[in-house]
Every structure is written in structure tokens, then in C-alpha cells.
């Protein structure tokens, strides 16, 4: 069906319909406004700050002046240009704090009645300065309009290039540029499976019992670091107020409003400390989990050997290894970006109940795992992913469950796999 012009968009199933032209126009206007703001800001800063400062340092003519009076950071000076006297109010220091070769800082440097070098504008001799130099922060302010210019300009170029082009044509251009990048790689490093994540990161670490040692996703050190990053500033700030509150009690004039206000904040701070200490004990007491695998990548219907080593000083209620497949979808909801995950496959490949692990004597287990025939392969696109992984989880007596994740790659094994 020929498509007519639609101003407003409407959702049909999973697709949005509407006027692409109107969308492109809105997008173009958005970036044009950014670009214009950048232009105006840049011109304003150049005209009012950068160029005048440059002229002071390069175009102004040196002369001698007499300071008639000083007021705050300003001084009234008298100087002559071609024998004609001029009066001007000027600042006693340049805008620069760092100072230039001609500049000496200090409000008391210019005494009334003293004679000092000055620089006047040859175009307008009524304008003169007592100090010269460059302002370092001026270059930082330039970054604001320049970033607006870059975002607006880049967006405008993208909008113009995309104008009248179908989604397929744009995607084909992306694919072609990606292929060009890939063609620079050697044939051995090029993956024959588009949109399947490469297994390089998994196969670069050899195992001691089996071919590959799997890297762990989300190291406990990161979790610990995050809790510490939350714990320290929170408790630091709360303790400052706590000291003030305790002092007020000590001096016999308790500030009850402040004390009552502080109680929930103190409770949160104590909670953060408890969680952090708990995580720390979990990370140190449970010890590293090593998982090794005989093959990588895996294929649907293919079997592999898995070796598990768990160190630490533990009495565990149970320890289990799962082979799982998770779908992950990222979507925009208003201005937020959210990721939703759903486990579509979960299989227990190893389990032990009531076990004890001692220092220097890790739990070691070797078992087999199989990706079911007909299962989906690993997949990674910008907004959607299918991830396979082994999960080692267990319950340590007196502690909450722990879980460690080890990603693996599953490649498709259909008929007629092309090696190109």
C-alpha cells in the first residue's frame, strides 16, 4: 500500500508508524537549535572575551601613565596619546590570576600619584589598561559552545545524510563500514558467525585440568568497591553531623531536632557498614571459584567437560553448577534506558549437599554438560542479547547464598555452515 503523510505516530504491534519526514524535520530542527546555540555562544565569547584580550596583548600601544586615584580593584589613570591627554578608569590587574610577563599582582601595587607603564587602544585611545595577560579559564568556557557546535553539527550532518534514505539503506551502510573494518583484520581473526560474540576473551586463558579457564563475570572486588564507595562518603558526612549533635549533648544543650533528624541517616550508615562487612567476609571466606572447560565455543547438541575448583574455609549446605541461557532486552522508556532479563533455560549440571572445604584442600569436581540440541546460539546486537553461562551458586552455613557467573559462547551448528 502506498503510504500517505502521517503527522502523528501510532504503535502497531511492535512497530511505530508515522511520518518519517516529520520525524526527520523534528530531528533536524533539534540539532539545528543546538548548532545555532553553539554558534551564538562561540561568537559571543570570541567577541566579548577572546578577541579583546588578544588585542590588549598584541595591538595595544605601550605608554606611561599617572595613577590619579584608586577604588577597589580599579584605578583612574592619565596618559597622553600624541600629546593629547586622556583619562580612563581601568582594572589594576588583568583577568589572569597566573600573571603574564608584564603583570605584577597586588592591589597596593599602584600608588596614587605614581607613574606606571600602561597600554592604550590605538583605535580608541580612551581605552587603556594597567596590566596585561591571558585568562586561563577562558579556554574552558570555549568548550561549552564548541561541544554544542559539535553535537548540533554532527547531528545535522547525520540527519541530512539520512534524509530520504530507508532504514535498510542506512543499515546496509553500517554493515559495509563494519565489513571494511573487518577486512583490515586477518582471515584467522574474522568470525564466521555474525552477531555471535567472539570467544577470544574466554579462550585466552588456558586451564590446568581442561583446555580453558573461564573468566568470571562481575568480580567480587567490583561489588566490594561499589559498597565501599557508597559506605565511605555516606558515613563520613553523617559522622560530621553526629559530632555536632554529640557536642550539643555534651555541652548540656542537646539539639533534639538535629538528633531526631540524624537517626534515620545513622541507621542507613550502619546498614551500609553491615552490608559491606558481610560482602567482605563472603569474598574472603568463600575464596576463588575456578571453572575450566574442555571446549569453546560450544554448539547446540555438543557435550563438554567442566572442571570446578572451590577454595576457602567453608561448611556448605549445598553447592550447585547450572548451565543457563538468559535473554536480555534493552529499551528506552521515556528518557530512561532499561534492561530486562529473562532466563529461558536452566539446567543443573552438578550438585553436592552438605560439604566442607578446608584451607589448602579445595573442592574439585569434574562433570559433563551439554547444550540442548535446537537451542539458540549466543547473540549480541545493540539492544538485544542471548547469553549462555555457567553459574556456580551455593549456600554457606550461616551466610546468604552466593552466586558466581562464568559466560560461555554457543555458536550455531546448522547445515552448510559457510566458512567465509
Amino acid at each position: 500500500m502506498a503510504r500517505s503523510f502521517r503527522l502523528y505516530e501510532k504503535k502497531r504491534g511492535n512497530r511505530w508508524t508515522g511520518s518519517k519526514r516529520f520525524g526527520s524535520l523534528g530531528e533536524g530542527l533539534f540539532f539545528a537549535v543546538f548548532f545555532l546555540l553553539g554558534c551564538v555562544g562561540l561568537v559571543f565569547i570570541l567577541a566579548t572575551q577572546v578577541i579583546p584580550e588578544w588585542r590588549v596583548n598584541h595591538a595595544f600601544v605601550e605608554s606611561q601613565c599617572t595613577v590619579l586615584q584608586t577604588r577597589g580593584g580599579e584605578a583612574q589613570i592619565e596618559y597622553s596619546v600624541s600629546g593629547k591627554p586622556h583619562l580612563a578608569w581601568t582594572r589594576t590587574a588583568s583577568a589572569s590570576d597566573s600573571g603574564g610577563p608584564d603583570q605584577q599582582e597586588g592591589p597596593g601595587r599602584f600608588a596614587e600619584g605614581g607613574r606606571y607603564p600602561c597600554w592604550y587602544d590605538p583605535v580608541d585611545p580612551d581605552v587603556a589598561v594597567l596590566a596585561r595577560g591571558y585568562t586561563w579559564w577562558l579556554w574552558l568556557t570555549l568548550s561549552v559552545p564548541i561541544s554544542f557546535l559539535l553535537i548540533g553539527g554532527g547531528g545535522l550532518i547525520y540527519t541530512v545524510l539520512s534524509l530520504g534514505k530507508s532504514a535498510e539503506r542506512r543499515a546496509a551502510r553500517v554493515t559495509r563500514s563494519a565489513s571494511r573494518d573487518l577486512s583490515e583484520k586477518t582471515a584467522t581473526t574474522r568470525s564466521p558467525f555474525p552477531h555471535v560474540p567472539p570467544a577470544d576473551q574466554i579462550t585466552d586463558s588456558p586451564g590446568t585440568e581442561l583446555a580453558y579457564r573461564l573468566p568470571m563475570a562481575g568480580s567480587p572486588a567490583w561489588t566490594l568497591g561499589l559498597w565501599l564507595a557508597a559506605c565511605l562518603p555516606w558515613n563520613g558526612l553523617v559522622s560530621l553531623f553526629a559530632v555536632v549533635a554529640v557536642n550539643s549533648v555534651w555541652e548540656g544543650h542537646p539539639d533534639w531536632i538535629m538528633i531526631l533528624f540524624l537517626i534515620p541517616f545513622l541507621a542507613i550508615g550502619i546498614g551500609l557498614i553491615v552490608v559491606f562487612v558481610r560482602q567482605l567476609v563472603l569474598a574472603t571466606a568463600i575464596g576463588p571459584t575456578l571453572l575450566e572447560i574442555s571446549d569453546q565455543p560450544l554448539y547446540p547438541g555438543g557435550k563438554c567437560d567442566v572442571y570446578l575448583s572451590q577454595t576457602g574455609l567453608l561448611r556448605m549446605n549445598w553447592l550447585e553448577v547450572l548451565l543457563v541461557c538468559d535473554e536480555e532486552a534493552t529499551y528506552r522508556h521515556g528518557t530512561n534506558t532499561r534492561t530486562e532479563s529473562h532466563r529461558v533455560f536452566q539446567q543443573s549440571v552438578f550438585r553436592r549437599d552438605q560439604l566442607e572445604v578446608q584451607h589448602g584442600m579445595p573442592l574439585a569436581a569434574r562433570f559433563a554438560a551439554e547444550v540442548p540440541c535446537g537451542a539458540m546460539h549466543s547473540f549480541k546486537a545493540e539492544h538485544n542479547e542471548v547469553n549462555w553461562k555457567f553459574i556456580v551458586r551455593g549456600e554457606v552455613a550461616g551466610w546468604p547464598n552466593f552466586e558466581r557467573s562464568f559466560p560461555v559462547i554457543v555458536c550455531p551448528n546448522g547445515h552448510g555452515i559457510s566458512k567465509s
Partner: protein
């Protein structure tokens, strides 16, 4: 006047295609006059559907444009042919669906477009919610346990996202060559 339309016919109509196989077919434009056509784009592509934002990648793309001097005759069928890639395979998951299709987009005068699209399946991935998939999963689990000479816990159908609760103690032990010093 007849409504403008693009008809697409695949060689080997309706069957499942496999990676590395040649995928071909033809398209016909109906109700479109020669002087109306500005360009024709033929794409073999996959796109995602479901909870996440759409991902789209074009495997094969051809554009015929009157501006570039290409001959476009709506009375004669156009052909397309490409070798299918190894991945991604068609998939009907819970949050994510990957759909392959051939899409023919005809650009007409006055900014109008006519779109024809025919989906097809690449590969034979089973939907994770299908009974066949779980039957195969159980079979593969039995294969693993028999190889190791011990029992293994069967595959679990995850009830909810991130279901992290361990199974009860009455489950059979899958221990295979497990040693605790």
C-alpha cells in the same frame, strides 16, 4: 485504479533455509506505472521484535535508481539471490524474536513508497517455550549423566526471570566424578 503492490515469491517457497544456502526469489510490481518509479531497494535482512528496542542488520542490499541510469521495468519481475550467513538464526524467544525477511521498497514520485515483505526462517532453532525443546533438553541431560555413570538433575523450566532459588534436597544428586578431599 489498482492499488500499488509489490509481490515477492521465494524459490523453495515456505521451507526453512540453512546457513550457507543460496536464497533467491523474484518480485513483481503491480499497479505501478513506469514513470512513477524513482528507485527500488531489495534487502535481505533480519530484525528483532519484542521487549527491547529494534535491532536491524542488512545482509544483502541492492538499490536500483532511475537517477543512476538503472533500468526499472515494473512489467518484468526482478530477481534477487544471496548466500545466507551463518548467524543469527531465526529465533522466537520470550523477550527477543529474530525475524529474517526479504524486503522490497519501491520509491515513487511525490515521496510515496510501496513496501513488500516476505519473512522466512533461517536455521532450526526451537523456541525455548516449546515442548520439543524441553524434551530434547531432558534427552541431552540423560545423555550427559549416562556418559558420566551417574544421575544428573533435569533441566528446570525457569519460572521467572532470575529465579535463583535452589531446588529441594529431594532432588537426585548429579555428582559426576566429584571429589571432596
Amino acid at each position: 485504479m489498482k492499488e500499488p503492490l509489490v509481490r515477492i515469491r521465494l524459490d523453495g517457497n515456505g521451507r526453512v533455509y540453512h546457513p550457507g544456502e543460496t536464497f533467491s526469489g523474484e518480485y513483481r510490481m503491480e499497479g505501478i506505472a513506469l514513470e512513477e518509479i524513482k528507485a527500488v531497494e531489495v534487502s535481505v535482512l533480519w530484525h528483532t521484535e519484542g521487549k527491547g528496542d529494534e535491532d536491524l542488520a542488512v545482509h544483502d542490499f541492492h538499490r536500483l535508481s532511475v537517477e543512476n541510469g538503472d533500468q526499472i521495468d515494473p512489467r518484468r519481475p526482478g530477481r534477487f539471490s544471496t548466500v545466507l550467513p551463518n548467524s543469527p538464526l531465526s529465533y522466537r524467544g520470550v523477550l527477543i524474536k529474530i525475524r529474517w525477511c526479504v524486503r522490497v521498497r519501491v520509491f515513487l514520485t511525490r515521496g510515496r513508497e510501496v513496501l513488500g515483505e516476505v519473512p522466512f526462517r533461517l536455521g532450526e532453532v526451537l523456541p525455548p517455550r516449546s515442548a520439543t525443546f524441553w524434551a530434547r533438553a531432558r534427552r541431552s541431560e540423560e545423555g550427559v549423566s549416562s556418559n558420566e555413570g551417574s544421575q544428573a538433575a533435569g533441566p528446570e523450566r525457569p519460572a521467572s526471570p532470575g529465579n535463583g532459588h535452589p531446588p529441594g534436597d529431594d532432588r537426585p544428586l548429579p555428582a559426576a566424578e566429584a571429589t571432596v578431599p
